[in-house]
């Protein structure tokens, strides 16, 4: 942005607008002040003239001698008093010709005379006497004029100063804004051209623009993370889907080349079906995670009890644990304390994934413990085991799609389980944390207790939600 663009900036325009408003109100104020001051000063002069005129007018027969005396006392005519006949000829006094300005009788007027080589202001009044003569009484108002000029000058200078400072302030503010906007546009242009690491320049201030910058930077962090994730996911999909697809293709080609009997064909087809199912399973798992992350599933939210779902999960997995020789125990909190709003199927699936993992990686004779809790305004569920645990440096990574610990590469599973858990947790406002205490790991899903939060009504008050709730009520009674 160039300097000529300055007047186009909002801050400059605002400053000028306020300067204008301030200037107009100051001008009005000064005008009023000026008017008040001058009328006060004039009225004191008028008062003196008034006193003299009473003296002259009440004794018209005495005017000429009085004026003569006055002229003798005031030869320089600083107080010009004079009488003229009706045609304007001088009769007596110390003002020898009528003022150039026409005289409105009985009204105060101002005029100028040369005194000591300078134009000097006078204020006076003219009267028409009963015989037609004209009486002029006036006072020198040089000091009042001086004061008025001083007042006007100081107001003008003050105005110029204020205007100058105001414009300078506007320019400085606008320059600051322009510099920041230039910084921001530059950063945005670099981001648009592909440098996602770039951030908008921040300042220490807490102005509205700075708050916006912080907000946008937070958003950019999210975008950068998402872009990285998308790239990671694309790589992972390429890897994890290419493998089964390669196997599928290889199997089919081999069947085509070598197979001779119907049974062999059937076997090859079965193998191909199994591979295809695995690929489809991976795909639908990915789609589900995307759907959950999208937040669309909130439509299925209803009032649920985390403890009930955890109990169902434990009951669901109990036979498998038993079969593997793993002790699966459940330690419930009082059901009234673990209520929240959520999607029961998703929460079941998430907790189920955790329990399934814990059982899968527990040694024979190990134990898996599921616990729901409500303490210090937090509610949640904890799944802990005494298996090998997750190394500290892998704890972030396990939440990524397809990530599998090196040790678990040879066990079945898509590596999507924990990312689904993470997505479900995020959808429900639950924090997912993984602690590893050797031996074993401990996964916690927790959130602030929503006890005082009104239940978010499902946006589709459908039959399915009600059916599901009823079905669940039935299953408790069994």
């Amino acid at each position: 942005m160039r300097l000529t663009d300055l007047p186009r900036t909002t801050s400059f325009r605002l400053s000028v607008l306020f300067l204008g408003l301030f200037g107009a109100s100051s001008a009005a104020f000064c005008g009023f002040l000026y008017w008040q001051a001058t009328s006060y000063l004039n009225s004191s002069v008028d008062h003196w003239i008034q006193r003299d005129s009473v003296m002259y007018l009440t004794a018209p027969w005495d005017i000429v001698p009085r004026l003569t005396t006055h002229a003798e006392r005031d030869p320089d005519a600083w107080r010009p008093f004079a009488l003229f006949d009706s045609s304007g000829r001088f009769i007596a006094g110390n003002l020898h010709s009528l003022p150039e300005r026409p005289v409105a009788f009985g009204r105060y007027f101002e005029y100028e005379l040369k005194r000591r080589g300078k134009d000097t202001p006078f204020r006076g009044v003219g009267y028409r006497m009963p015989n037609g003569d004209i009486l002029i009484l006036s006072y020198n108002v040089n000091e009042i004029y001086g004061f008025k000029h001083l007042l006007l000058d100081s107001m003008a200078w003050g105005g110029i100063l204020v205007f100058g400072i105001g414009i300078a302030g506007a320019v400085i503010t606008a320059l600051g804004a322009v510099r920041q906007i230039n910084g921001i546009t530059g950063a945005v242009e670099r981001i648009v051209t592909g440098n996602l690491r770039e951030r908008l320049p921040t300042r220490r201030g807490a102005g509205d623009l700075d708050r916006l910058v912080h907000l946008v930077n937070g958003m950019l962090d999210d975008i950068e993370r998402l872009m990285r994730e998308v790239k990671g996911v694309t790589d992972d999909i390429a890897h994890d889907l290419r493998t089964p697809l390669t196997r599928l293709l290889g199997g089919l080609e081999r069947a085509r080349r070598r197979t001779t009997s119907a049974e062999e064909y059937a076997r090859a087809v079965d193998a191909a079906i199994a591979e295809t199912k695995a690929v489809l399973g991976t795909f639908s798992a990915l789609l589900r995670i995307a759907e959950v992350e999208d937040g669309a599933r909130r439509a299925g939210f209803m009032r649920i009890d985390l403890g009930r779902i955890a109990a169902d999960v434990v009951e669901f997995h109990a036979p498998v644990a038993e079969e593997r020789g793993v002790t699966l125990s459940f330690d419930p909190e009082s059901p009234s304390l673990t209520q929240m709003s959520g999607d029961p199927s998703l929460l079941f699936e998430a907790i189920s994934n955790l329990v399934d993992n814990a059982i899968k990686f527990s040694p024979i004779g190990g134990s898996v413990r599921v616990r729901t809790f409500s303490t210090k305004g937090r509610i949640g569920v904890v799944v802990s085991d005494n298996g090998p645990g997750i190394p500290a440096h892998e704890r972030e990574a396990v939440l990524r799609r397809f990530h599998r610990l090196e040790k678990s590469r040879h066990t079945p599973g898509s590596g999507l389980g924990l990312s689904l858990v993470a997505a479900v947790a995020k959808l429900h406002g639950l924090t997912l944390s993984i602690d590893s205490s050797f031996p074993g790991s401990c996964v916690t899903l927790e959130r602030d207790s929503p006890l005082h939060v009104p239940l978010a009504a499902p946006s589709v008050p459908g039959n399915a939600a009600r059916d599901e709730a009823e079905a669940r009520a039935v299953s408790t009674s069994v």
Partner: protein, 227 residues
């Protein structure tokens, strides 16, 4: 013979569905858009309708469904959809659908669900005793006996057995069991249900009796009296 109308705009998918249902023993007719589906379903009586959610030409699956229900066509309708979101499902069921299946699906899943829909209407809910072969379930006392011998089942095993007993001789898939017995809805890909079924099967077959629950193609179960 059971006649099923398949409404699906993609000809190849329609042919696959028709083939799967045909192999199962149904007589299948296909419609490829909403208008055709309406014409056929109103003109003819079908035992069941398989309806794709997305159809070209203005009348989509849900519109077809609500129109049919408005015309008192009460054949059971299974909705097929590529949309798995929960509110899509709810919308489908509210429009008058009886079941909802997300693409892609296995043919076994489709035929099993249609079988259950077909027989749901005929089965009476007022039964108090279910019998298959020498196995009997007293629904009031919640007692299970095989050949007069009482079998002690856990609540969940009882519910699994009750569901299978209500549909004897029909294929029930793992997903159907999970939805019906656990009341949660998602694609269960673990073998946990197999383990539950294994335990139930062992309890039923205790004492060397011939097995009553058979596994079908790896993903379904069928309960029938042993020959």
């Amino acid at each position: 013979m059971t006649r099923v109308l398949v409404v699906e705009d993609d000809a190849q998918t329609a042919a696959e569905i028709a083939a799967a249902l045909g192999d199962h023993g149904f007589e299948v007719e296909c419609a490829y858009n909403g208008q055709e589906a309406l014409d056929r379903a109103v003109a003819d009586r079908y035992s069941a309708i398989v309806l794709d959610r997305m159809l070209p030409g203005g009348i989509d699956g849900l519109a077809v469904l609500s129109t049919l229900r408005g015309l008192s066509v009460d054949a059971p309708v299974l909705i097929l959809s590529a949309l798995s979101a929960v509110d899509e499902r709810v919308r489908g069921l509210r429009a008058g659908g009886d079941d909802y299946l997300t693409k892609p699906f296995e043919s076994l899943e489709l035929t099993a669900r249609i079988e259950v829909l077909l027989r749901r209407r005929s089965a009476s809910d007022r039964q108090t005793m279910l019998r298959v072969g020498d196995l009997e379930v007293d629904l009031l006392k919640r007692e299970v006996k095989r050949g007069g011998r009482a079998i002690d089942l856990l609540p969940r095993e009882y519910r699994l057995l009750e569901y299978l007993m209500r549909h004897p001789g029909q294929v029930i898939t793992r997903t159907m069991l999970f939805e019906e017995v656990w009341s949660y809805r998602y694609d269960q890909r673990t073998n946990v249900i197999d383990v539950h079924m294994g335990k139930l099967r062992r309890k039923l077959d205790e004492g060397g009796l011939p097995s009553m629950i058979q596994t079908v193609r790896g993903s379904g179960y069928i309960l029938r009296a042993p020959d």
